[in-house]
Subunit: 408 residues, 2 copies
Amino acid sequence: MNPTLEIFSQGEEVVTGQIVDTNAAWLSEQAVTMGFTVTRHTAVGDKLDDLIALLREISARADCCICTGGLGPTSDDLTAEAVAKAFGLSLEFDEVAFEQIQRFFAHRNRAMPESNRKQAMFPKGAERIDNDWGTAPGFSLQAGRCWFAFVPGVPMEMRHLFLEFIQPTLASRFLLRPDRLITIRTFGLGESAIQQRIGAIEIPVQVQLGFRAGPDDVQTKLLFPQDYPEAALTALVDKVAAELGDHVFAIGGLGQASGDLVFTVDQLMTAGKHTLAVVETASQGLLAAKCIGADGLLETRYEQSLVRLGQKLGIAVNTDDLPATAQAIASKIHKTGNADFVLVQLYSGDKKTFHDKDQAIILYNTLLTKDGFFQTTGSVAGPIERKQNQAALLALDLLRRNLQHKEL
Amino acid sequence: MNPTLEIFSQGEEVVTGQIVDTNAAWLSEQAVTMGFTVTRHTAVGDKLDDLIALLREISARADCCICTGGLGPTSDDLTAEAVAKAFGLSLEFDEVAFEQIQRFFAHRNRAMPESNRKQAMFPKGAERIDNDWGTAPGFSLQAGRCWFAFVPGVPMEMRHLFLEFIQPTLASRFLLRPDRLITIRTFGLGESAIQQRIGAIEIPVQVQLGFRAGPDDVQTKLLFPQDYPEAALTALVDKVAAELGDHVFAIGGLGQASGDLVFTVDQLMTAGKHTLAVVETASQGLLAAKCIGADGLLETRYEQSLVRLGQKLGIAVNTDDLPATAQAIASKIHKTGNADFVLVQLYSGDKKTFHDKDQAIILYNTLLTKDGFFQTTGSVAGPIERKQNQAALLALDLLRRNLQHKEL
């Protein structure tokens, strides 16, 4: 039997629906992957009695509980107090935590408000979880049957603290037999298209098949028991990946570092020491923004008017022949800049089409490399933010395919 | 006292984190707006004993509960059975529901699998909720203190059934007095700094004060009872807003449309028919990307090398005097473009500083308007994504302050 784990989210903003609790799903996935059985998620608001009752309940029924939220400096941040009351502990001042909080403010040249002192008060016996990403340190303690970890609700801070402190602690505290999760990440195929493609492959009963469709990719997940033979695992993953073809941009869980489409592109660009210049239209800066931290991106520009961009670059714009116009833009940028790749994104459709969620725009992506031009066309409908995001990804995917396969 | 409402989500895919439970947030927001106090969200997997125990608990403590999921045809869909067992009811075959399910398949020219017959079995005394959007009808019943509504977990079906059946039923079953939520949105002040500033203001006991700190702003929330006198409400909101000064960029809940910083800037730009050209460095396209849908943004550019940008623009770059360099860039862009505002963002700090979460970069934002130059300086530390986002917001906020106050 796997040890059981619960997720407990605290905060009025969660319980009143002002924010979607993405922490619970993220933490559950991590916990399941580690070998826990996740039994329950609970979210309550900032009510001391509710918090106390729940903490007691959980301490009696779960082996582990990850709690998010309620660690801030304000009067509605009640977690430490609730834990102390639930388990009959006093609150104690933690000198080290206080210094960390002070340092956080000092680094930002800001005076520390008196209210932040509260964040250095922990229930007696708790172990501090240092937080380099925000002011609120977390803490952990054993209560009853359950080992509790309390971390801030800010997703970025929560994820760091989980990966850097909680995960290693869990791995040493619990006897875990983690399943092995292989994630095949694709771009350009919907979930049902994937299901159709791999429908004929026989998946053994011990292997769990799942899908997760996000705005940036679709993930096909294969969960293998820990003792599944390596050769059989590899064979099945290869079979599934083969059916998905060059839509596959990364496979996670096989030992190599992998990530999203940007990560894959960055890896390939870095390995080839390539540099890139971009012209964006529909993505309006988002393509470049996604590449933050990648060294190869030398420049991007967005110009609302294609005619005006042509004027500035000194080239002829033919709105009836966007592929030819994109080639002319790419050639010019290549001559005046010093990037070895130039990626130009144009689209057909007016402002109304772009704003209307029921209408599609046609994207024309052109990549100029030392081997010449590569072009793709794609159609995107939906709300404007979806069009923007897909436009950025379609352009990046053209670059990815070229770098990964040297062809389209 | 408002009636209390809980959200109960059933399904292994929720509890294992394969999907994010967006239903809970959506339903909570609807319920809060109607005048319920949402007290708890719970998600459990497909375990009969857990379901029975939870249903009994909820029937004793909440006035209303909306349950999603577990109504499908497969063996792990246990909701109706759990309800029957929890409250000692028999399961009865519903002729009308069965006909609806048959019709659903007939419309799609598909044979109805035998397993779907189960979806027409309801606990005795339950009222059927017709579902025109899928095969699974929902049902409602009173158990103990609590009125339960059970609907499918598919978001589209759930939303339809809520809006068309549950919401009107709730409005007639409960005496609801919706609260009034005022949200004061600020940029540039932390949550604790806000608390300190408004600490001296007396908040009446009937008014609930809350905060929500996100990556893009901090929201100070005042929740007023429905019958709170309008003049007193306005006076209190004005008092709080006055203490927060020109950090306030929007106030929501007073009848006018309001949104995030980008929304405010877009409104001001549109009202003044202004146009904008941007040069980004640290935000690397994100500033422009955030403005998707806004008509006033004419162009943006990012250049990794400031020296190279200077060469391209034909201006002298002095890296020891970034404010002067920014002015030269802005002037040049103003001359060669046709935007009436030019916003130039530069920063000091090398690549290492930018990547290192423990080091801060100094941002120099320069705005050129017909009234001359306006400049601000700000320091941002943290992970690279935070620096990027704050850089975009600090620049936008300079524009916002100028448009809103015609001063800094």
